[in-house]
């Protein structure tokens, strides 16, 4: 019954889209730059730091949306995102990197130059989808957010495809989760906070388990490369 009593007044939300656009576009473009660094940096720490930067930008997006619309729980989103994505997850990643003592990622599956090309084409593809998908509900400002989130998602999945290092793949997953959050902020911003918290918890747990598994992989097979893991046959 709680839901039905507390319907927030969002009727004017469509009207503020231009303002949101003004704030969000720079932030989103910055996120793309960090995304590129996260995926392509050979140094694991650089990737992790880029990830912190990207998460901060995401928090910025949340905050700006929260400040522009009368939607109080966006602040809570922003805070939880800040706690998990800027603090906990990078801490976990960095700690694992330190514990394993690895500096550089394993040799990637796709070489550098084709990889760059793939990155850029996926970015273009993401934005193209963002603007061309026949979704009548999307206002123009949100199309950019949507495109960005798709791009982040594509790049995240691409990162898992193109890189062989387990930790790198984990960071790409975090990156993917950022994309999801941006999407949620774009499309499902009115959902109750429980949903958001659930999704965030899942993300953190997933990353923790992946990091734990990658330490095990390192211990058992001697390297972090998941590309070489092929003991299982048909």
């Amino acid at each position: 019954m709680r839901h039905l009593n507390n319907i927030p007044d969002l009727s004017g939300f469509g009207g503020v889209s231009v303002q949101v656009e003004n704030v969000v576009i720079p932030l989103a473009s910055c996120m793309l730059v960090t995304a590129f660094f996260i995926v392509e940096s050979r140094r694991l720490r650089t990737s992790a730091y880029s990830y912190i930067a990207q998460s901060s930008l995401l928090v910025g997006v949340f905050l700006s949306i929260a400040s522009l619309i009368p939607e109080p729980h966006f602040y809570i989103w922003a805070i939880t995102a800040a706690i998990t994505k800027v603090l906990i997850v990078p801490w976990l990643v960095l700690r694992t990197i330190a514990k394993l003592g690895v500096e550089f990622e394993e040799k990637p599956v796709i070489p550098t130059i084709p990889s760059y090309i793939a990155d850029f084409s996926l970015m273009i593809l993401g934005f193209w989808f963002g603007f061309n998908l026949p979704l009548p509900i999307l206002k123009p400002g949100f199309r950019i957010c949507f495109g960005t989130s798709l791009t982040l998602m594509f790049l995240g999945i691409y990162g898992m495809t193109g890189k062989s290092c387990a930790i790198k793949q984990t960071i790409c997953l975090c990156h993917l989760e950022n994309g999801i959050h941006l999407l949620l902020a774009t499309l499902a911003y009115a959902t109750p906070i429980t949903v958001e918290i659930g999704i965030l918890t899942d993300a953190v747990l997933a990353i923790a388990i992946m990091l734990y598994l990658s330490t095990l992989i390192k211990r058992v097979s001697g390297s972090l490369s998941t590309y070489r893991l092929s003991s299982l046959r048909w």
Binding site: V109, L133, P134, I157, M160, T226, R228, W234
Partner: protein, 655 residues
């Protein structure tokens, strides 16, 4: 009473599973089965003469409607004879062959009664759902019985092929039943509602369902294009089980075919052709391939294909004539009845022959006719039983095989002057006669390679136990009785067939003709006269006795066999079974020749069968290589996800 039979079979199975004593486990299971079979015999005879029994077990969607109408009663009557006798035979056979050798027979004692029960169930149920259940139960239990000696590679392979084929048959049956059931309102599986549904179904189903159903029956019935499981499975099973397969399981699809064609579908020219033409083909092919075999059970298996072909041919011819014109109903009923009479006869002599191979197995542990020989001296009673069986199989007058084959030929020829539809019948009769001669060839080979000539292995004198011999002899006596008094059989078969062909009014014919009279003479308007057979059976022995008496107050001396100058019997001079009729093989060409993989192969396979089986194995192998798509590193599969996602989105953008 039916419930008692069901219950007894289940109790037999349970006792067979849980009795502590290994020996008594199988004994009790077989004894209880035979008691149940005797009750079944009584019940079905009563139902055949009296009124049909209808019963329903459970309620709701899962209710089991049972009906013992005339046709079912006839089939169950026919079945219960091999049921009873094979069960009695098994008491001792299983003990001598397996228990004494220290083999655990629990699987047999569990499955055997259930196998009997399931076949009975298929005949009795009047619900498509339970038909499938009993059908599958039959497949399972028979599968477990086939793989009884699963230590042997060939037995496992045979069991597997059998299992697959019977599952395909079951799938087709399921398609038929379920398609029909999906047109019923309200949902129901009873035969009567399936019938209504069939008549309401669209045109493709009207034509397609009988075809699908008939193909399913082909598979289970071992009809030629899909027969290849049969010559593998029969030899693999223990002899008592092979006897039941040949005597009963082959007949179950014939019942279903008859029932479904007349009661659920309509008899059409198409269904007649689908029954008749494969029947003709399997008649010829089965008999042809029986000839070169050297494994006695494989020979009998092919022979089963051939003899079942006769039944299918007669049945199909009857359906064909009936569906062509209702005015030919009398001819149709005679053809169908002749087919069912042959079915009855086949259910008598084929189990007998299979159990005789069991006797031979007990005695010699061998099925190889190259090795066997001269057993007539060691096993005189078995050899007499075998001779009776073989002569019945050949159809020598006055044995029962003759009576039924003769009536098929006669009614077939009588119908062949009718019109165009009778061309297959006309061809079929000619080929049936041809197959008759082939039958003579392989039966004589079967008998003589086992019981006459010289043996290559040592056998101690003394026949097998009386419990084994008595059922065989009873079957033999039944063969002669039915050969001499075919009227008995026909007076049971006509009333069962008549309800399906209501145009023929048998009541009119039977008026004033009591049972005893019908033993001697069935209505004269049918071109079959029992008198004939009686005279035959009487005159031939009289002449024989006179001739023999004339010759035999004379002194007879026994002298050693002339050995062509050799001092001892040379076992190697025995003619090997595989080349008994080598001239035929060389005449018929390579398609007919047997491929010998190893010098002492147990299951010779004709090339024709391999042609049917091999491609599937190759296709399977090739398809199996699909597993290689699973080998790549993780990254590839993530990429597949990405590509799929992008393509779905592209689809969304494009439209």
């Amino acid at each position: 009473m039916l419930l008692t039979v069901f219950a007894l079979f289940i109790i037999a199975s349970l006792l067979g599973a849980f009795l502590p004593s290994i020996r008594w486990r199988s004994r009790i299971s077989c004894i209880l089965s035979s008691i149940a079979s005797i009750i079944l015999l009584y019940a079905s005879a009563k139902a055949l003469l009296g009124s049909p029994i209808r019963q329903t077990i459970f309620s709701g969607l899962a209710s089991i409607p049972l009906e013992l109408d005339r046709l079912s009663a006839l089939f169950l009557l026919i079945f219960s004879i091999p049921y009873t006798l094979t069960s009695i035979y098994s008491i001792k056979y299983i003990e001598d062959e397996y228990v004494n050798a220290g083999i655990d027979v629990r699987r047999h004692s569990i499955c055997f009664p259930i196998f009997l029960m399931s076949m009975m169930g298929v005949i009795l149920v009047r619900s498509g759902l339970w038909l499938i259940v009993f059908w599958e139960l039959m497949s399972f239990t028979s599968y477990f019985l086939i793989t009884f000696e699963h230590g042997k590679r060939e037995v496992r392979d045979a069991g597997f092929i059998y299992f697959i084929m019977s599952h395909i048959a079951a799938a087709l049956l399921i398609v038929t039943v379920i398609s029909l059931a999906s047109w019923t309102h309200p949902p129901s599986f009873t035969y009567s509602s399936l019938r209504d549904a069939y008549h309401r179904s669209p045109l493709p189903a009207l034509i397609g369902l009988p075809i699908i159903f008939t193909i399913a029956m082909w598979i289970k019935g071992g009809i030629v294009p899909v027969h290849f499981w049969l010559p593998r499975a029969y030899p693999a099973a223990p002899s008592n089980v092979s006897a039941l397969f040949a005597g009963v399981m082959e007949k179950v699809p014939i019942f279903l075919l008859t029932y479904f064609t007349f009661r659920i579908f309509d008899p059409t020219i198409l269904s007649g052709l689908l029954t008749c033409i494969p029947g003709i083909i399997s008649m010829v092919i089965g008999c042809l391939y029986a000839i070169p075999q050297r494994d006695d059970k494989v020979l009998l298996a092919y022979s089963t294909i051939g003899q079942v072909g006769y039944i299918w041919f007669a049945l199909g011819a009857g359906i064909l004539l009936y569906s062509y014109s209702r005015s030919l109903a009398l001819l149709a009923i005679i053809l169908i009845s002749s087919g069912l009479f042959h079915l009855l006869n086949h259910s008598l002599f084929k189990p007998m022959l299979f159990t005789i191979t069991g006797n031979v197995l007990i005695k010699t542990k061998s099925r190889d006719m190259d090795v066997l020989g001269g057993l007539g001296r060691a096993m005189p009673i078995t050899s007499i039983a075998c001779l009776i069986g073989c002569l019945s199989l050949i159809g020598l007058p006055p044995f029962n095989g003759f009576a039924s084959k003769w009536s098929i030929y006669v009614s077939g020829i009588a119908s062949s002057t009718v019109n165009m539809v009778s061309i297959p019948i006309y061809v079929g009769v000619a080929l049936a006669m041809f197959s008759g001669t082939l039958t003579a060839i392989y039966s004589l080979k079967f008998y003589s390679e086992i019981f006459s000539g010289e043996s290559r292995i040592d056998v101690e004198a003394g026949d097998v136990s009386a419990i084994i011999l008595i059922p065989e002899l009873i079957l033999g006596i039944l063969c002669i009785i039915l050969g001499v008094f075919p009227g008995v059989a026909f007076s049971a078969i006509f009333p069962a067939v008549q309800p399906m062909i209501p145009e023929v009014d048998l009541a009119e014919l039977f008026k004033g003709v009591g049972f005893l009279y019908s033993i001697l003479m069935i209505p004269t308007m049918l071109p079959l006269s029992t008198m004939y057979f009686i005279l035959l059976a009487a005159i031939a022995p009289i002449i024989f006795v006179i001739a023999y008496q004339l010759a035999h107050p004379r002194r007879t001396s026994i002298q050693p066999t002339w050995l062509g100058g050799f001092r001892h019997v040379l076992r190697d001079t025995k003619l090997v079974a595989a080349s008994f009729y080598s001239e035929f093989e060389s005449m018929l060409g390579s398609f007919y020749q047997i491929r010998v993989r190893r010098p002492r192969i147990a299951y010779p396979e004709p090339n024709a069968d391999l042609v049917l089986v091999k491609p599937w194995i190759w296709i399977g192998r090739a398809l199996g290589e699909l597993r290689r798509i699973q080998v790549g590193p993780i990254q590839i599969y993530v990429a597949i996800l990405l590509i799929l996602l992008i393509s779905f989105l592209l689809m969304g953008v494009i439209g």
